[in-house]
Symmetry: C2
Subunit: 329 residues, 2 copies
């Protein structure tokens, strides 16, 4: 089949509720700064009732990446489950209005659209509490083979490992991608996700993954080490290509014997780091799908991540394509 | 009864959907730049389907003013109608989480929570298309006399003149406020609202209003003139006190023979003017309820308006109280 998409991504379809918070609030609520915790609906409502006034934006890790890739001028499809409610409509609108393909039918008569309560502390760090709602009802039946087979890269979100039906959908997508000769990329998503599913993730990475995205804490968690050097060495033997983001220190790209070090974008004031890793992946995979050099892939990642941390919300608010053109990328 | 609130405000309870747009889009959609048009649900959905990805925030003119006054450290109550749906919950959360009192029961089994589609063009001007939904079901029964009678200022939104039951609620609130010796403030809201209800508004202003807020186009519409000078002269004879905002030129305050001219706040980059007038009113009435000078009331208004036009969204994202303290106000 012809290649219609640079990227097809599968992930949780989530609406973010973003509000400022201070460290005392995180402590009172038992929230671990910088992490993602799963909450049930009751705990979600309870926490929300004590959060500050917020802003609602479409989110979800892989969905943010799809939005970023579309903003760069790429062709992307998203697969994920919303409910047929107001926030589900908002999510679907934002996906399509940004130029992405989104055709997963909404869930009828089940839980509400997933919501992620994002508490942003003054230094810009985000701490997330997610009610997965309808997004856990994404099953293998929602995998449209025509989309997977038509994508240059199939991208999977580690968060999906938390739901068994999604893990099966994952496996189906990987099988279809492999059979169609497509590349499979995975993001580890979160250190706690890695702790919960280390063996499953390692097995999947070794057997299926062509390109792995992770940040420092995730990669340390994966190999149960405190040494970044050891973790990077271990990673090289597990996966053909990896990009490890290091916050303000940029990123490291590993491919066989090659190691490419990329700087972070210079940002005057970091407002909200939500979505930084998602946008890095968007820039990187946009470059990769267009056969750019590893350095350019990394720089596109830094550029996209830099845009998103300079404002509240996990998706670009300016055209990344225009930004990349201005930067000579 | 003791004075519990600096302000009690009645208005439409609306969630804003804010997205960037260009002039060609406004033209194609027949939208009049800078105005507020009412749309039905079908037209609202249709327009939304062609808008860019957006951000959702609680809005509504008088509700924004309440949020601003609370951010300044004032005590404010809001009366307005949401539906018992997701966006209604968001609205109620944001009102209360910002420190305002909000106890109007949500509408059950009627239209959805009101939504305002805000298209923001590159210069920061906002063009609004509002589906009033549940907010038009606000009736005189929703006026809680205990709240009106306990407020230093009772503030009414001109937009409410578009719905007959709200006009009756308006009259009830004004009667209660008058009987309790409270001050009544009104904002004209929009030039088209003034055109639709000129006689009703003029009658209400002459007989009931102690303090009128308007911008230049609204005041020109009210007196059907092209001369600001003529409009201001006419205004002096109709109402004891008025504050007329003039965008980048600041504002003019009229009280009897007194005329006070106030500068606008200096802003590096105007991103989105949504809520500028609402926040001006918040600052002004916070000052007034604390017996500050007219100049200080105007400066508090400029300060609050300046904060809100420097980011997307119609409500303060930083503490206006801290901002005012830093500015020596």
């Amino acid at each position: 089949m012809a290649e219609l998409f640079d990227l097809a991504a599968i992930g949780n379809a989530i609406v973010d509720v973003i509000a400022p918070a201070d460290d005392a609030f995180l402590l009172d609520e038992g929230l671990d700064k910088g992490s993602m915790m799963l909450v049930d609906e009751v705990r979600g409502r309870d926490l929300y009732s004590r959060m500050k006034p917020g802003v609602e934006t479409s989110g979800g890790s892989a969905a943010n990446t799809v939005a970023g890739l579309a903003s760069l001028g790429g062709r992307a499809a998203f697969l994920g489950k919303v409910a047929n409610d107001q926030l589900g409509e908002v999510f679907a609108h934002d996906m399509r209005a940004g130029g992405a393909h989104f055709s997963t039918p909404p869930l009828i008569g089940g839980p509400a659209t997933a919501r992620c309560l994002v508490n942003v502390t003054p230094e810009g760090e985000r701490t997330m509490s997610t009610f997965l709602g309808a997004s856990t009802e994404f099953t293998a039946d929602d995998i449209d083979p025509a989309i997977i087979e038509a994508a240059n890269i199939v991208y999977l979100e580690g968060y999906l490992f938390d739901a068994a039906p999604a893990r099966r959908a994952f496996a189906k997508a990987a099988g279809l991608a492999r059979a169609a000769g497509r590349r499979i990329a995975l993001t580890l998503s979160d250190g706690f996700v890695v702790d919960r599913h280390r063996d499953g993730l390692l097995g999947f990475i070794e057997t299926q993954v062509d390109l792995l995205f992770a940040n420092e804490s995730e990669i340390l968690a994966l190999f149960e080490t405190d040494s970044l050097e050891n973790a990077l060495t271990a990673l090289k033997s597990k996966v053909p290509m990896a990009a490890v983001t290091l916050g303000a220190n940029g990123s490291v790209i590993l491919k066989g014997d090659e190691t490419v070090v990329v700087s972070a974008a210079k940002i005057d004031k970091i407002l909200d780091t939500t979505g930084a890793g998602d946008q890095y992946a968007a820039g990187f995979m946009f470059g990769l799908s267009r056969d750019r050099s590893l350095m350019d892939c990394g720089r596109l990642g830094s550029l996209a991540a830099g845009e998103v941390i300079s404002h509240y919300g996990p998706r670009p608010q300016t055209s990344l394509r225009d930004l990349a053109t201005r930067e000579g990328l």
